[in-house]
Symmetry: C2
């Protein structure tokens, strides 16, 4: 830890909001600023454990007491001493000697989910917040982190299922609200899905002649669409939470996902080939179904993975890339892949 | 707070595991016991703030310092004093006077997700744990609660998407593991889905004569199956997290959900009736599609809601009731509803 300028003990303990030089920032929703508390334990790294304990024994007003934050004279964060560690230390030890440093910190405008991820990654129960000049402002306390994680959990599930943001923070409401309000919250994405369904109908209608010639082609439509969806949904679930944790370049992640999709598609294709052949006594039809399944699976993993990533890149929550829209895109592509394959191999 | 028997100060501070009378319990995975830490701050409610501070200043070994727990002579939990509140109190105050009581606590074998829910509900950053005789054992600390919430979040998403439990704790692994392992983790549910797909094929094949007579019936299969799925997935997402938070009787919740499904189905049915009639110039076909959509939506909400509930009732995680199995059940039912409606109204 660099040697900071000494500062007086009284100045450093339990700062009040007024004493803090941080500018009054508007708290944007879903950012660290929304959950920021200013009154936390602060000290100079030169202070001794005993001196700090004496100061604490005199009574200090704080909103969060997870750790003591060590600051230099310019309010730069030099380290933190978890309160449990402070209790165990010998009175003559200097705080600098028992501090954990460096301390990860976030900006006031950091996304709340990023703040919670950082806490888990670094084993912090409160995450320090700094202003844009790097001055210590306060912390996002443990209880706020718990609430953020629960809220994001419900939001992800609801986005996965295409339920409007109006309801996402109220998991209990979603099962208890009057049916009319629940239907209203759920309809917007379903109406988008209805347009997608019409598109699917239009595509199948476009292959009317093919279906007229061999009606058995219609038998496999629900199965292939279902399996490609299931494969794509897996890719979405993996991308939605996994992307933020991985530091690998996207090209490598996407290549891995595409290979996974090909392996899955190949397995499914090999497994259906025999039964369909045996069942309908038609090797060409069985081959067409198998090839379509392979292509649709590979396509589904790529789209399921790429959509959340695209949204994350444009600064939106990757969970928006999952759910109804991704599914309808996959359904339409699966239908096209299946009918094109059938036309190429059977006619 | 009831008046407990006084106990000596030294006995009450920072108990070591050996001093705790709790029997050595095997820590079952995913329970409070797995995350339990024994060395926490303990005191008698008769102690003064000043006396406790002096004891703490002498140095105590603890694993979690979120609060001081007030115990009677038989180790029953009487209240808690958050550490921030202890720092603000006047030295002459008795701990009983600044304590928060009663304190919610969990058994050692409580499900970890229940523990995290309790923490958020009651604003606790550490959840007290008692043994089966009600004796205080220790706490699940804040960091464990954060990890539990993150883990359950990823598990829910993965279950929703039908990804094996092997991978659920490792969100980063799921995007970075070699494709062969990723395919292996994802295949089990897809193979179940493959059997379901064959069932769907078998059902559609069973209506071969119907399709031969009017091939246009096939045009609406992907759209109706997609919309019923989308409606059912919403119900699953709502049930998976909402059920544990609601105290209403199931019959009422299910009735509300069914009404929501009917409202949604009615809206979708009304919206498709005109376009399909205009598009195919066939009022009977349009009516059949609309009626099937209404019935399939109502059915999908009921199944999407009931499956997670059934699993929760049998003591399993409701999230198992979502995802691939629920989807295939819904797909098969939607197909049957559609073809039955078409046969009843068109032939």
């Amino acid at each position: 830890m660099p040697a900071p300028e000494p500062r007086s003990g009284s100045e450093a303990s339990g700062a009040s909001p007024a004493a803090s030089p941080i500018e009054a920032l508007p708290a944007h929703p879903d950012t660290a600023g929304e959950h920021l508390v200013l009154r936390v334990l602060q000290a100079s790294p030169h202070d001794t454990v005993g001196a700090l304990r004496q100061r604490l024994a005199a009574g200090v007003e704080v909103d969060s007491a997870e750790a003591v934050y060590l600051l230099d004279a310019r309010r730069r964060l030099l380290g933190r001493v978890p309160i449990a560690r402070l209790l165990q230390a010998r009175a003559e030890q200097r705080l600098a000697d028992i501090a954990i440093a460096p301390v990860p910190a976030v900006r006031v405008n950091a996304d709340q989910e990023h703040v919670a991820s950082l806490a888990i990654q670094h084993g912090l129960t409160a995450v320090p917040v700094v202003d844009r000049r790097g001055h210590f402002a306060g912390v996002v306390p443990a209880l706020a982190l718990l609430e953020v994680l629960r809220r994001e959990h419900v939001e992800d599930l609801h986005r996965f299922a295409g339920i409007g943001p109006e309801d996402t923070n109220r998991a209990r409401d979603a099962v208890e609200a009057p049916p009319i309000r629940r239907a209203r919250d759920r309809l917007p994405w379903l109406l988008v899905g209805l347009v997608g369904s019409m598109l699917a109908t239009w595509i199948v209608a476009g292959f009317e002649a093919t279906l007229q010639a061999r009606v058995a082609i219609a038998f496999f439509v629900p199965g292939i669409v279902y399996l490609a969806d299931a494969v794509g949904t897996q890719s979405e679930a993996i991308a939605v939470r996994g992307l933020s944790l991985s530091r690998l370049p996207l090209a490598r992640l996407l290549a891995g996902e595409l290979r996974t999709g090909l392996l899955i598609g190949l397995t499914l294709a090999v497994l259906v080939l025999g039964p369909v052949w045996w069942w309908f006594g038609d090797a060409d039809l069985a081959l067409a179904v198998a090839v379509a399944l392979l292509a649709a699976s590979a396509c589904a993993t790529t789209i399921g993975f790429a959509l959340p990533w695209l949204l994350a890149r444009t600064g939106r929550d990757p969970a928006f890339g999952s759910g109804p829209i991704a599914t309808i895109i996959q359904d339409v592509l699966s239908l096209l892949i299946y009918f094109w394959t059938v036309q190429a191999l059977l006619f």
